[in-house]
């Protein structure tokens, strides 16, 4: 029998109109579930005067109040300890604890039942199957297996697909590289920052060229990198492997994936999530392709602590073209473009840190690391960009072209400081390369 291209040949090819019908039914179900089982949700909805029977069409959903991350932090002070009153199941049903990384403040705790963990790995199964993971793949996971969701569900999904999983948890980077080499691992999952770090360590500290490793596909998540063409190209070239983007979050789930056709974007898993794109200024829902806005997302099947109209702050836009893979799940063009928190006005111009990364990493003579600091020393905004010159590369050859490209791509001027290779900080998980010192 011919192998299916899709993890779910029914839902992944459903016409959009049918998908929307499914989303409405599922939204009604999860909304009623949360209303009936969570004090937090019932209070929130009663305050707005909205009840389960009021959701009759998809257009009614915009009246459901959004949930902000800060609200999830606040409820943790309530009972039952330690999750608070958004919990929809008895505490003894909770089988797994995870928490957010705390990048934007106090971490949020996430309770999941066993069914929710099955659901996590089911979402990841869509991701990995679409990226060509199959039985026979030996998948290496170089992350610290701990309280953060990270790639845990990717581990379980790979097992479910029939791959062999190698948990590279408490190993340092060199030991991980040696283990990949020794076991002839064919795939791995990591943040783009860490993948680049592994390449750097392999090449410069161990004398192993990453392309000599048997890895043929890498799933990147946790940061936008694999959706930034210059970063993706850099990783693909150095490992001689396909690099696929994926986006998920602790409070949400694994909601999107780049398939093996690499459509310059990610499919939204519209059978399991409802993604709405909200206009930055008006808050209206954007349906048309090509217009950026802020993602508001609902996990349609997550039960213990539901995620209903969560204000993720991710900036995305719909693509106008369908993917050549035949999936009808819509594509968000370029993946997650940035975070609404990070996209900021500098000298009156909207600046996305991803645009700077795209320029820096398109220069072969520059290292992977960079740092951007925005400040306002007087009355005028000032941007400082720190980059690393690779050994043997001339600053005078790079600098004018770098300035031109930055001006062209971001419409802004920069003070640029050049450093020797390996001078800027290295990161193991998520990097903090953008600092806005005006926000105090």
């Amino acid at each position: 029998m011919m192998e299916s291209e899709y993890w779910n040949p029914l839902l992944e090819t459903l016409p959009l109109e049918k998908l929307k019908q499914l989303q409405l039914k599922k939204f009604q179900r999860i909304f009623a579930w949360a209303y009936d089982h969570s004090k937090f949700h019932r209070f929130l909805y009663n305050k707005t005067g909205i009840a389960p029977g009021d959701i009759r069409s998809l257009s009614d959903i915009k009246h459901v109040p959004k949930v902000e991350k800060s609200m999830m932090r606040d409820i943790q002070n309530k009972d039952p300890f330690p999750y608070g009153d958004a919990l929809c199941v008895p505490l003894e049903e909770v089988s797994a604890f995870r928490q957010t990384s705390g990048t934007t403040g106090q971490p949020v705790y996430q309770p999941d039942t066993w069914q929710d963990w099955e659901w996590w790995s089911e979402c990841w199964s869509y991701v990995l199957w679409s990226q060509g993971y199959r039985p026979g793949d030996r998948v290496f996971l170089p992350f610290g297996y701990n309280i953060f969701v990270a790639f845990w569900a990717g581990h379980y999904a790979a097992e479910k697909l029939g791959c062999e999983v190698v948990p590279g948890g408490v190993l340092d980077t060199q030991a991980r590289i040696l283990k990949i080499q020794e076991l002839r691992a064919t795939a791995m999952m990591a943040t783009p920052t860490y993948v680049l770090r592994m390449a750097e360590v392999a090449k410069h500290k161990m004398g192993i060229h990453p392309s000599s490793l048997p890895i043929n596909k890498i799933t990147c998540a946790g940061e936008p990198g694999a959706g930034i063409p210059a970063t993706k190209k850099r990783i693909e070239e150095i490992f001689d492997a396909k690099v696929y983007d994926h986006s998920g979050a602790t409070e949400i789930g694994a909601w999107s994936y780049e398939c093996s056709h690499q459509p310059f974007g990610m499919h939204v898993n519209e059978a399991m999530f409802l993604v709405e794109i909200e206009d930055f200024e008006t808050g209206e829902i954007i349906e048309e392709p090509g217009k950026q806005g802020k993602m508001v997302i609902t996990a349609l099947d997550r039960m213990a602590q539901p995620c209903i109209r969560f204000d993720s702050k991710d900036v995305i836009e719909w693509d106008k073209d369908p993917c050549t893979c035949g999936r009808t799940f819509r594509i968000i063009r370029g993946g997650v473009i940035g975070r609404a928190d990070d996209i900021t006005k500098v000298k009156g111009v909207l600046l996305s840190p991803g645009a700077i990364e795209e320029v820096v990493r398109s220069f072969d003579g520059l290292g992977d690391e960079y740092e951007v600091t925005v400040d306002r020393p007087g009355d005028v905004d000032h941007i400082l960009l720190k980059v690393e010159l690779l050994t043997g590369v001339s600053r005078s050859e790079i600098e004018p072209r770098l300035r031109d490209q930055l001006r062209l791509k971001t419409n802004l001027g920069y003070e640029i400081e050049f450093f020797g290779y390996n001078s800027l900080p290295r990161y193991k998980l998520k990097a903090k390369r953008f600092k806005d010192l005006r926000k105090k």
């Binding site: 291209e5 499914l22 039914k25 066993w114 659901w119 035949g326």
Partner: protein, 72 residues
């Protein structure tokens, strides 16, 4: 579009209905096992895990059938 759109033969409705029926049957069996095995944790807890896996099959197929999303 520079690449041809991939197409895969749709699964016949009869097969979908057959799978749907079997999933619901196995769910009922697992539920009976779970509820009837109160004094036998080794059966009860494994039946509960099986039910969680069955739920994924419901998400993947039965929901679309029960919500009348699939055209006959």
């Amino acid at each position: 579009m520079d690449k041809l759109m991939k197409t895969q033969q749709p699964i016949p409705l009869d097969s979908l209905m057959d799978m749907n029926e079997k999933i619901l049957q196995i769910k009922n069996l697992a539920r009976d096992l779970e509820s009837g095995a109160g004094q036998f944790p080794g059966i009860e807890k494994n039946a509960k895990r099986i039910l969680a896996s069955i739920k994924m099959m419901e998400f993947n197929l039965c929901d679309a059938m029960s919500f009348d999303i699939i055209d006959p």
